[in-house]
Assembly symmetry: C2
Homo-oligomer: 347 residues x 2
C-alpha cells in the first residue's frame, strides 16, 4: 500500500491556529490581478470589474465550536450564518450571498437537519442574503457546518486590518464578554443537569448573556451607521476571538502599537454581575472571551467629533508607534503588555 | 436544559443526497439582483458589474469520500481542489480563486497537514488559481476538507445545465469509469494488505485507473477548446456522480428526454480489462461509477462539424422530447430507462 514514509511528527498543538494557517500558506502565491487581498484578513478582496467582492469562510465543528446539549439546532444554523456575515461587515461590505455545506451523521433525523436549515433561512431573511449553494453529505460522527459568505463593496471602499495609522483612535461597537459568560452559565447548567435531570433552572437573570452566546447578531447596522456618519475607518476587524487577540492582529498587520484603556472597555451590567458570581475578572473576559462578533476599528482623530457620544461606539484607546508595543493601561494606571489568549482549538 | 421537543424522527437515508438538498432549500428565496442562479447547478452565478462570477463548494469527509489507508494526503489536497474546479469549468468559466477550510484531529501531526497543503498548492499552481482564504480548526475525529471555488466568465457566457434543447447532441469528454475501477483495485489491495502486510502488490497494470481515482484532473482544457472551436454548449454539467445521474440532472433541468447510445460511451481499454477481471459490466461502471470529473455537455446539431472526430470529445446521444423519457439504447438495440444510482452517502 501507499504509505507516508515521513517519520517526523510535530503535534499540531505546538502551533496555535493562526500560526498554523500562516505556516501552511506561507508559500502560496497570488497570480490573478483580480485578487486584491488573499489570506490574512477577515475576508479576501477580489476585483471583478467595477465592484470589489469580499469572500470569507468559517467552519463550525460539533464539540469544538458548539455543544448540542445546550445549543438548539435552529440557533446553530442562525449562528453559523452570522459569524460569517460578521467577517463581511468587518470589511465594510454589504453581505449578499452565502453557500452552506453540512456533514451530518445518521444519528440526526431529517427533522433535526430541517431545524438547522430553518435557522439558516431565518438569518438569510433577517440579514437580506441569498443562499446560493452548498453541499450536504454524511459524516461518520458529528455535525459540521461550513459557510462561505460573499459581499460586495464599491471599489477602494473595502476596509482592511493592515491600514491603521499611528495616532488613530481605537473604537469598538457594542459591549464585550457577554457571549463568553453566557457560555459559562450554560456549561454550569449542563453539569447541574447531569447530576439532576429534573432540575428546572431559572435562567431569566442570564437572558442577555445566553442570547449573546446562542444567538449572536452581526453588526450590519454599523456599516450603515459609518456611512451615515461619513466616517471611513482606517482599519477594521471583527471580534471573534477576544478583544486582545484582535487588537494584536490589527497592530501586527498595520505595524503600529496601541494603548488600550481598561476603564473604557464597554461591559454590560449583566457581565459584571455574572463575572462577580463566577469570581472571574471582567476585563480578562472582555479581552479573551471571544465570540462577541462586535467590530473593532480605527478612525483618524479628525473623525472624533463624528463618533463621540454615539451609543453604539466606544473609543477604547489609540494607536502608537510599533516600537512602543501593545499595552493595556489599567484602572490603576499601570501598563501591562497585551498577549493573545484567544481560542486555541488545537490544545 | 433546552431540548428539542420534536418527536418526529425521519432517517436521513429515506431521502437521497439531492432530494435532501432540494427539500431543505425549497423555501429559500432569492432577493439580490446580483444572484443570477442560486442552488441547483454545478455553481451559482452572480453578477457584479460587467462580469459574472461563479461560486461552488464541496465537502470531502474522511471515510465517506476518502480512505487515508490508500489516499496519500498530498493527492487528497490535490483532489479536493480539482473536484471544485471541475464545477467551475462545467459553467464554462475560468477558475480564479479558492478558499480551503480543514477540520483535523490531533492524531494528524503537522507534517501530515503540510503534505495536504502541498497537494493544494500544487493544484493551485497547475490550474493557475489563488488560494485566498480558509479556516483551520480541530475535529474530534477525522479529517474534513471544505473548498469553495470562484471563477469568472463574460456576462451571458456562463453555461447552465437547464438550457439544453430537443435535438441537441449529447457530448462527453475523455473516458468514463476509470476512477471507479481504480477504487475497486485499491479496495482489493487494502483487503490483501490486512491479511498480509508484507505483500508487495504489482499495480503497474492499473496505473491509469488508480491515478484517475487518486489524482483526477479537471477539464480546464475543454473550456479553452470549446472557445477555440467557437462552440458554445447549450448546456453543461460535470460528471462527479456517474454519467447516468448527470444525464438525468441535465434532462430534468432542461425538461427534455435523451437517447444515450451504449456503444458510443468512451471507455479506456484498461477499464474494459479490469471490468472483466472483476466481472463487472463496463457500461454499468461508466453509468454509475462516478468521480470521473469529465464534462458532459450538449451542442446544437449545427455545431456537429466543429466537434466530430475531436479526440477529446465523444458524441454519445441526442436529446428528445421530455415525454419520450431518458433511455440507454443498448448494443442489442433495446431501450432501457436510465435511473440514477449515484453516490448515496446517507445509505
Amino acid at each position: 500500500m501507499i504509505e507516508d514514509k515521513n517519520q517526523q511528527r510535530t503535534p499540531l498543538s505546538t502551533l496555535g491556529e493562526f500560526a498554523l494557517i500562516d505556516h501552511l500558506t506561507k508559500n502560496f502565491e497570488i497570480s490573478h490581478t483580480s485578487t486584491v487581498k488573499g489570506i490574512g484578513d477577515d475576508a479576501a478582496i477580489l476585483d471583478f470589474g467595477d465592484k470589489s467582492i469580499v469572500v470569507t469562510t468559517d467552519l463550525l465543528v460539533e464539540n469544538v465550536h458548539f455543544d448540542l446539549s445546550y445549543m438548539p439546532l435552529k440557533h446553530l444554523g442562525y449562528k453559523a450564518v452570522v459569524v460569517n456575515l460578521s467577517d463581511v461587515y468587518a470589511m465594510n461590505a454589504e453581505a449578499t450571498q452565502i453557500t452552506v455545506s453540512i456533514a451530518v451523521s445518521n444519528r440526526f433525523p431529517l427533522e433535526a437537519v430541517e431545524e438547522l436549515y430553518a435557522g439558516i433561512e431565518t438569518a438569510a431573511k433577517i440579514y437580506g442574503i441569498d443562499v446560493v449553494g452548498g453541499d450536504t453529505t454524511s459524516s461518520t460522527t458529528g455535525l459540521l457546518i461550513s459557510v462561505t459568505a460573499i459581499g460586495q463593496v464599491q471599489k477602494d471602499e473595502a476596509v482592511r486590518r493592515d491600514t491603521a495609522k499611528v495616532g488613530d483612535l481605537l473604537v469598538v461597537t457594542g459591549d464585550l464578554g457577554a457571549a463568553y459568560m453566557g457560555l459559562q452559565v450554560l456549561e454550569r447548567e449542563k453539569e447541574v443537569y447531569k447530576v439532576n435531570p429534573n432540575s428546572q433552572p431559572d435562567l431569566e437573570a442570564y437572558t442577555y448573556i445566553i442570547e449573546r452566546q446562542l444567538k449572536p447578531e452581526a453588526r450590519k447596522d454599523i456599516v450603515k451607521l459609518l456611512k451615515d456618519l461619513d466616517v471611513k475607518p482606517t482599519s477594521m476587524i471583527d471580534i471573534s476571538d477576544g478583544l486582545s487577540s484582535e487588537i494584536l492582529h490589527l497592530c501586527k498587520g498595520s505595524k503600529v502599537g496601541c494603548d488600550l484603556y481598561e476603564d473604557k472597555i464597554p461591559l454590560d451590567p449583566t457581565v459584571i454581575t455574572v463575572c462577580e458570581e463566577f469570581n472571574i475578572d471582567s476585563t480578562t473576559v472582555a479581552l479573551n472571551g471571544g465570540e462577541d462578533y462586535e467590530l473593532l476599528f480605527t478612525v483618524s482623530q479628525a473623525d472624533f467629533p463624528k463618533i463621540k457620544a454615539n451609543p453604539h461606539l466606544s473609543i477604547i484607546g489609540h494607536l502608537v508607534e510599533e516600537s512602543a508595543g501593545v499595552h493595556l493601561v489599567t484602572r490603576a494606571n499601570t501598563k501591562i503588555e497585551l498577549k493573545a489568549q484567544g481560542w486555541k482549538t488545537f490544545d
